[in-house]
């Protein structure tokens, strides 16, 4: 690969090595060059195998590649691929609270994604707190739970705690004497209407996915409030 800099730099390059290298020094530099080239080549090869679709070689050496790549070189360049997301996923939350007068109530659903959308609208610099936090937390939950909502491991448990705290942070209900007991989340997935010229079916009705009620812990109440 050409850096386009060769010609202009040649004059300056001369002052870098004023001393003629002795034979052992030349050997050391040659061996070093070999080692550095091997290291760079290996690194790029492993990055390629990590980024490419699972294939004969990468499946055989999955453990080695994972060991090298995680956690610092993890990467994913499937921007809107193979197919872009075709749904707007709205994450909504409701809560069971005790009002100051002692009445126990279930609040109506609050659309947290709509709050994000409102913050992003006409904003030239959307914040990660609005564009990524909830959206990716919901993905994280989906990736670490089976269809019946059972956690598939450590990350699943973390995802539940994360979503619950996020809900408490966004609801901000436990003030003025109101006590927050439990929260419930759901997603409402609406398909984007296909383009008029495509001649496809109009989208089906929104799909709801409701999670269990989760008890709010005292430490959840210490979460940073976002509004």
């Amino acid at each position: 690969m050409d850096t386009d800099d060769g010609r202009e730099r040649e004059a300056e390059a001369g002052n870098a090595a004023p001393v003629a290298l002795s034979r052992p020094a030349r050997w050391i530099v040659a061996l070093g060059a070999l080692a550095v080239a091997l290291a760079a080549g290996t690194h790029l090869l492993i990055m390629f195998l990590h980024v490419a679709p699972p294939n004969t070689v990468s499946k055989q050496h999955a453990a080695t590649i994972g060991d090298y790549v995680l956690p610092e070189y993890e990467q994913n360049w499937k921007f809107f691929a193979p197919n872009p997301l075709q749904q707007n996923i709205a994450v909504q939350v409701r809560a069971q609270v005790t009002r100051p007068d002692g009445e126990v109530q279930v609040t109506p659903w609050t659309d947290l994604s709509a709050q994000d959308g409102a913050a992003i609208l006409h904003n030239p610099l959307p914040s990660h707190a609005q564009q990524n936090q909830l959206r990716r937390a919901w993905d994280f939950y989906g990736n670490t739970h089976d269809d019946r909502g059972r956690s598939t491991g450590l990350r699943g448990d973390l995802a539940e705690d994360y979503l619950r705290r996020l809900a408490v942070s966004r609801l901000n209900l436990d003030r003025d004497g109101t006590r927050l007991h439990r929260v419930q989340l759901r997603s409402v997935t609406t398909s984007v209407a296909p383009p008029a010229w495509a001649g496809q079916q109009p989208p089906a009705k929104p799909v709801h996915r409701e999670l269990d009620w989760w008890r709010v812990t005292p430490s959840d109440l210490g979460v940073v409030r976002s509004w």
Partner: protein, 457 residues
């Protein structure tokens, strides 16, 4: 190609990569661009920083610790859940980005910058996007580069030292000789700032090695298998010390051979890292194109219609919908994106095609910045694209910026800021002029125009 020419070109390539750090302008562009983007991001998120990375964030310090106990990512933020520690690290990330951008002690600040980037991003991996991912990788790679050779405070200091040495060499007598001595030895031995910085970094690293919990590891969970972060960071610190020693005693050590070998290794590492950076950019585009080709919507040319209708990626819905209303526009943009991304690595074989495509890519990212509301991601991609820009373009761009800066500097009066707009100061200056007692009026009133006159003459 005959064997002789093949051997000849191998030898030439070997000489080239061991005797010069290639692409000084390209690596400087990456350094400035990426650290600027990171700093800009940190400033923008200042009021959201507690929500994103703070100890009581939804992704709390405890949750982060539980995840990091499992994936062993590097972040100094897990060492303490105290509020002051978080604020300190956030400020540290900002200051290190600023210094790295300016090119102050670049080899040291590149490491500090990397620590800042990794610490914040690994603390809350679930708030990042593709832009953060690229910043993360490049922060590690730039540590190996000499990205402060041009467009940096380091370069300015080196130029001044060189000028002083030349003045000394040209001068006669005792004065000339002492100036020469200053120029030549004004470097390592009397470089108090450098020595202090190195000592402070060593002390910080020592404290981290002794006190950090979870502890810095020596042989695992580091940047590469078998090397822990403690080993990596101590190695970098020791190398800095050794390099200083070699610069001080360079000529005495085996007739300058040690110094020459170390210099060659510096060039080698830089050039390898540059290659890795370029390869990484090719991987990004290559993979993005490759995966898209497999998608049915990219094949029928409607793919781009959908992101333009997602609430999270349409800050300007009227604009997005207007663009998505035309089937032909969506088709051309969808096909164009796939073609450009999949073709990118191969266009590097032809200089002219590569340059055309680079410009196209940069404009596409500008479009993404606005249309999809991804300004930080787009900035990152534009700056990593810059690694493939021709040196002549970059130099011209640099001169243009410098010219603008000079133009501004010539019109901004030097001195105490604010004096001009204050009525009292103007009145005082006027009174002084009237009474002929201008000499104590302060430096500014006469100085701005004076400078202009000098330049005009």
């Amino acid at each position: 190609m005959s064997v002789a020419t093949w051997r000849g070109s191998c030898a030439a390539a070997f000489a080239r990569v061991t005797s010069a750090s290639l692409g000084p302008y390209q690596t400087a562009a990456i350094r400035i661009g990426l650290s600027f983007t990171w700093l800009f991001f940190l400033v923008r998120e200042w009021f959201n920083s507690q929500e994103l990375y703070g100890p009581d964030a939804p992704w709390s310090w405890e949750l982060a610790r539980r995840l990091i106990a499992d994936n062993h990512a590097f972040t100094v933020l897990v060492w303490s859940g105290a509020g002051w520690w978080f604020k300190l690290v956030y400020l540290f990330a900002m200051v290190s980005a600023l210094l790295f951008m300016l090119g102050w002690r670049t080899r040291t600040t590149s490491v500090l910058y990397m620590i800042g980037v990794l610490s914040l991003q690994n603390r809350s991996v679930f708030v990042g996007d593709g832009g953060d991912n690229v910043l993360h990788l490049m922060a590690i790679y730039t540590v190996f580069t000499r990205c402060g050779e041009v467009w940096s405070l380091d370069a300015r200091r080196a130029a001044r030292r060189g000028a002083a040495a030349r003045r000394g060499a040209a001068g006669r007598g005792a004065e000339g000789r002492s100036a020469a001595a200053r120029g030549a030895a004004g470097d390592p031995r009397r470089d108090v700032t450098g020595i202090v910085l190195w000592a402070v970094c060593g002390a910080g690293l020592l404290a981290a090695t002794l006190l950090a919990d979870p502890a810095l590891t020596w042989t695992d969970h580091g940047p590469v298998p078998g090397v822990g972060w403690a080993a990596a960071l101590w190695a970098v610190w020791l190398l800095h010390g050794v390099w200083w020693l070699v610069r001080v005693r360079g000529a005495a050590l085996a007739g300058g051979q040690v110094r020459a070998v170390l210099a060659a290794f510096g060039h080698l590492l830089h050039n390898a890292a540059l290659l890795v950076i370029m390869g990484e950019v090719c991987l990004i585009y290559g993979a993005a194109g490759w995966y898209k080709i497999q998608g049915s919507l990219w094949q029928d040319g409607t793919a781009l219609y959908y992101p333009l209708h997602l609430d999270y990626f349409s800050p300007w819905p009227a604009l997005s919908h207007a663009l998505a209303a035309s089937g032909v526009v969506v088709l051309l943009l969808s096909y164009g994106t796939v073609a450009a991304q999949a073709a990118f690595p191969f266009t590097l074989l032809n200089r002219r095609v590569k340059n055309v495509l680079l410009v196209l890519m940069m404009f596409e990212h500008l479009g993404i910045a606005v249309l999809l509301g991804l300004p930080f991601f787009s900035l990152v991609m534009i700056f990593v694209d810059a690694v493939f820009l021709p040196t002549s373009w970059l130099r011209r761009g640099g001169e243009l910026v410098a010219g603008r800066a000079r133009w501004v500097a010539e019109r901004v009066p030097v001195g105490v800021p604010g004096q001009r707009g204050v009525g009292g100061a103007d009145a005082d200056a006027g009174a002084n002029a009237g009474t002929g007692a201008a000499s104590d009026a302060g430096p500014d009133p006469g100085r701005g125009p004076g400078r202009d006159r000098v330049r005009a003459g």
